[in-house]
Amino acid sequence: MSVLTKLLAIDRRIIFLVIAAAVVLSLFFPMRLEVAVTPPVESIYKTIESLPEGSVVLVSNDYDPSSKPELYPMSVALFRHCFKKNLKVVAMTLWVTGEGLIADALNAALKDERFKDKKEGEDYVFLGAKVGGSAVIMGMGQDIAGTFPKDYKKRPVTDLPLMKNLKTLTDFDYVVSIAAGSPGVDDWVIYGSEYLRKKKPKRVELAAGCTGVMATQYYPYLDSGQINGLLGGMKGAAEYESLIQWKDQGTYQMDAESVTHIIIIAFVILGNIAYFTIRKSRGNVTGEAK
C-alpha cells in the first residue's frame, strides 16, 4: 500500500521529466504513423480542389508565435495546396505579433522548386497585419484597398496586379481563417459572413483552422454551415498534409503528441487505480476495526 500512496504523492517534477523525455525521444526516433482523415478537414480539401485555376483564396492567419506549432503547419499546407492548384493567394493577419511568422510561412511554402515561377503581386500577396479585429473585416467587406492601403512590403495595394480586381470580400472565391483566439474565427463568422453571403449566385464559403483546445467551440458553426470545414489543432494540420501528400512539421510533430497523450492517459489510469485501491483498503481497515 505504501507504494501506491507514494505513487499518488509523486513529485510533479518526475511527471514533467517523463513528458519531456517522451517528447524528445519521439522526435529523435520518429514513428511516422498514419493519420486518419476526418470529414471537417476533408471538406476544406475538397473545396480547394474544386476551385478553378486562377481563383483567389483569402487566408487570414490570426495567430502569434505561441500557437506556431499547431497553426503554422496549417498555413504552410494551405498555401502549398493553393500553389499546387495554381490558385491565387492573398494572406493577411489581424495579429500584429504574427506578421513575421506569416511572411515566413509564405516563404516556406514557396521554397519548393515547383513554385519558383510564382510572382509576388501576381500570384500571391501578403497584406501584412492590421489592428482592429472586426473593424478590419468590415472594412474589407466594403473596401479592401481602403483598409489595407499598402501591403507588407509597403507597396500600394492598388498597384499590385492581383489586387486590381479585388475590391471587397465578395471578390474572393474562398476564405479561410486560421486563428488562435480573438480576433479570429468568431469575428469572421459574425462580421465576415455578412459580406461573404452577398456574392451571387453562390456565397463565398468560409472555413476555419484553430488550436486543438479551441476546436470544440467551433462545431456549432460547422453544423449550421457557417463554416464549411474545420482544421483542429496539430492533427488537423497533419490530416491536411496527408491529403495534399506533402508531409511536413504537422505530421512529424504528431509522434510527440501521440506519445504525450498515451502517457497522460496512462498517468490518469494509474492515478485512479492507486486512488481506488487505497480507498478500498482504508474501507476494509475501518470494517475490521468495527
Binding site: 509523486i10 510533479r12 511527471i15 514533467f16 513528458i19 519531456a20 514513428m31 504513423l33 498514419e34 486518419a36 476526418t38 502569434d64 508565435p65 505561441s66 500557437s67 506556431k68 506549432p69 500584429v96 505579433t97 513575421g100 511572411a103 515566413d104 516563404n107 489592428v131 482592429g132 479585429g133 473593424a135 478590419v136 468590415m138 472594412g139 466594403q142 473596401d143 481602403g146 483598409t147 512590403k153 486543438g212 476546436a215 470544440t216 467551440q217 462545431y219 456549432p220 460547422l222 453544423d223 489543432g233 492533427k235 497533419a238 504528431m254 503528441e257 501521440s258 506519445v259 504525450t260 497523450h261 498515451i262 497522460i264 492517459i265 498517468f267 490518469v268 494509474l270 492515478g271 485512479n272
Partner: protein, 210 residues
C-alpha cells in the same frame, strides 16, 4: 469635470450605439459610407491603444527600477529589450534581413512557443493529481476524454479504427450541443450588456467611482 468625464462619454455611447444599431438595417449608400468611415476610425483608435499599453508598461517597470523593488532586474531587462527593439525597428525597419526580424525569429518566436508549451507539463501533472472517477458523471467525463484524446492521435487509429470515429462523434454531437447552448447564452448576455452600455446603465468603462 463631470460633464467631460461622465455626461459627454455617456451621451456619445448612447448616440453612437443607437446610430449603428439603426445603420445595420439601412441599406442606403450613405449608411454604408458612415460604416466605412467609422471602421477606419476604429482601426486608428485601436492602434492608439498600443501607445496606451506601452506607456502603462514603462510606467510600472521604470517605477520598479527607480525604487529598486524586488525583481527590478527583470524590469531593467524588459525596458532595455523594449527600447532596443523599438529603436532598431524605427531606424532600420522590420523587413526580413533587418535586426528586428532577426530578434523576432531567433528570440521572440522560440520564447513565445516555450511559454505556451509549459502548459502541456502542467496539464499532465494536473490530470494525474485531480482526474478521479469519483462519481458517475466524472467517470463518463473521464472515458469520453480518453476516447477523444486517443482519437486525436494516430496511435488511437492504430489501436482500433473506430476510436477516431467515436471521438469525432463526441465532438459533433454532445460537445456541439453543449457548445451551442453556451454560445446562445453568451450571445444573449452580450446583447444585454451592450444595451446596458448604450443606455448608460453599465458604466464600468468610464472608470473611477460613480
Amino acid at each position: 469635470m463631470a460633464l467631460v468625464k461622465r455626461r459627454i462619454p455617456l451621451a456619445l455611447a448612447f448616440c453612437l450605439g443607437v446610430v449603428f444599431a439603426i445603420q445595420y438595417y439601412v441599406p442606403h449608400p450613405v449608411s454604408e459610407t458612415v460604416l466605412t468611415r467609422s471602421n477606419l476610425w476604429v482601426i486608428i483608435i485601436t492602434s492608439f491603444s498600443i501607445v496606451l499599453g506601452l506607456s502603462s508598461l514603462l510606467h510600472i517597470h521604470i517605477g520598479k527600477m527607480r525604487t529598486l523593488a524586488p525583481g527590478w532586474g527583470y524590469s531593467a531587462v524588459l525596458v532595455a529589450s523594449l527600447v532596443t527593439t523599438a529603436a532598431l525597428g524605427f531606424v532600420l525597419g522590420k523587413d526580413p534581413g533587418s535586426p528586428v526580424f532577426w530578434i523576432y525569429t531567433t528570440m521572440y518566436v522560440p520564447l513565445s512557443g516555450t511559454m505556451f508549451s509549459i502548459l502541456a507539463f502542467f496539464i499532465a501533472s494536473a490530470a494525474y493529481k485531480a482526474f478521479r472517477a469519483r462519481t458517475l458523471e466524472a467517470t463518463i467525463l473521464l472515458v469520453a476524454a480518453i476516447v477523444v484524446m486517443l482519437g486525436n492521435v494516430p496511435i488511437g487509429f492504430l489501436m482500433h479504427k473506430y476510436i477516431p470515429v467515436v471521438g469525432n462523434w463526441i465532438y459533433q454531437n454532445p460537445n456541439m450541443a453543449a457548445q451551442r447552448g453556451i454560445l446562445l447564452g453568451l450571445s444573449l448576455s452580450f446583447v444585454a450588456t451592450s444595451l446596458k452600455i448604450i443606455f448608460g446603465i453599465e458604466r464600468a468603462y468610464l472608470g473611477g467611482g460613480d
